[in-house]
């Protein structure tokens, strides 16, 4: 049976972490699964976890009154869901829903924050990796703000 630590070795987010660091991270994690349509977390709830999707697809959604849920982004296998556990007030800004059956590893944010406080080297390693994820998502969002497919030169 694969341990969390073994699974983490194949996750791009954790590339470059030492065995000791992986062990520390793995100590805060466990495996989980969600059926199609199940909710991982909801907007406004306390955010004390993050997920690494190992199989399946997760939709990040924002509920807009009068429109219903609007899909912001989908997260595929190998990617991470959730960074609100890193910053006060530790609340989710979006809903996360399994588009299809999802297998994931879930990590206890409070546990990891404690380890990062105690070991700043681990804290920096994790923070820089999450910053990379945030930068990629921000860039993706900015490009989509351009509405490149909607814009057209009038003939």
């Amino acid at each position: 049976m694969e341990t969390i630590e073994t699974l983490l070795r194949d996750v791009p987010l954790f590339d470059g972490l030492t065995s000791e660091e992986l062990e520390l991270v793995a100590g805060c994690g466990t495996n989980t699964h969600f059926g199609e349509g199940e909710t991982l977390f909801r907007q406004g709830d306390e955010a004390n976890t993050f997920y690494v999707v190992r199989h399946g697809s997760v939709a990040l959604e924002l509920f807009v009154p009068g429109r219903g849920p609007v899909m912001i982004e989908t997260i595929e296998s190998g990617d991470v869901v959730g960074w609100s556990w890193l910053f006060p007030p530790y609340r989710w800004y979006f809903d996360a829903r399994a588009l299809a059956a999802v297998r994931a590893s879930v990590f206890d944010g409070a546990c990891l924050r404690g380890k990062c406080e105690a070991d700043p080297r681990l804290g920096y390693a994790l923070m820089s990796r999450f910053a990379q994820v945030m930068m990629e998502r921000l860039n993706s969002t900015r490009i989509r703000l351009l509405d490149v497919y909607g814009y057209a030169t009038v003939d």
């Binding site: 697809s57 899909m71 490149v148 497919y149 030169t153 003939d155």
Partner: protein, 280 residues
């Protein structure tokens, strides 16, 4: 300076009358038209080429060929102005003017023996559909064939029934994403470039065909270079204000090149520096 065009050359390309034989609605603002010459015969086109399509009395616009090169002249047109709106409204039997075909072609033959990666954004799938038809007709001559398609929303996707057929094939990887979605969309949401990471191709033996808004092609090419596809194996199709279609008027000039005459298909290494010049 080049040689001024002769009067003979200029009058050599009047619009030929074609009849609309079918009109299919693709999305809320985009239609696919099939056309047949009024005088009989057909028009030989190749993947990548375009024609100048004329709505009589309203205007003429460059439109990429979007059908099977072995079939009737086919154009997929998005209604964005008076001429394209008139063309999209042309019922079966309506006469339209056609000049061309013009332009060079996608490097379908040069891609033989390697993997084929097609990356389309928005209506950019239309000029790439003839490539896919050709590659599928000669499927044994290519390795992996991958189609990555990004669109604004699910309702803006072109050729939905064909996309479903292509996805059902075992010899073709098709991946689709949209910028935003509501309701019961079960596919991906995110930028088209994100699809590249999970596409199956051998970067050293792949030819990429990219078409979409210029900024989308820029980001896509950057990601393809990062994946290891050499710039000379990335083909992009440009669209810039083409008017005459034959390199006389200069409206589509991009630095030293006239897109209607030398393009619209270019190797990325030919244009990479020019596309970075904001004044062009």
């Amino acid at each position: 300076m080049g040689t001024p065009p002769s009067t003979e050359q200029l009058v050599a390309v009047p619009p030929a009358p074609f009849r609309v034989t079918s009109r299919t609605r693709e999305t809320h603002d985009t239609w696919t038209l099939r056309l047949k010459p009024l005088n009989g015969g057909g028009l030989l086109t190749r993947p990548g080429q375009f024609t100048m399509l004329y709505a009589f009395g309203i205007g003429e616009v460059p439109i990429s060929c979007s059908g099977d090169s072995h079939g009737p002249l086919t154009h997929t047109v998005r209604a964005v102005g008076p001429a394209t709106t008139a063309i999209c409204s042309a019922d079966e039997g309506t006469a339209l003017g056609v000049r061309g075909p013009f332009g060079n072609t996608w490097p379908v033959d040069a891609a033989v023996g390697g993997d084929v990666l097609i990356v389309a954004g928005g209506i950019g799938l239309a000029p790439l559909r003839p490539v896919l038809y050709e590659v599928l007709r000669r499927r044994d001559e290519y390795g992996n064939v991958v189609v990555l398609y990004g669109s604004r929303t699910p309702r803006d996707l072109l050729y939905v029934s064909e996309l479903e057929e292509w996805r059902a094939r075992f010899d073709l990887q098709v991946d689709v994403t949209v910028d935003a979605a509501e309701g019961d969309w079960r596919g991906k949401v995110g930028v088209a470039a994100k699809l590249i990471a999970s596409a199956h191709f051998d970067p050293g033996h792949t030819t990429a065909f990219v078409c979409g808004p210029e900024i989308m092609m820029h980001f896509t090419a950057r990601d393809l270079l990062d994946r290891g596809i050499p710039a000379e194996r990335i083909a992009i199709s440009m669209e810039r204000n083409m008017r005459c279609g034959v390199g006389h008027c200069g409206h589509c000039q991009l630095g030293p090149t006239l897109i209607c005459r030398d393009g619209p298909v270019y190797r990325y290494d030919e244009l990479e520096l020019l596309l970075a010049v904001r004044e062009l």
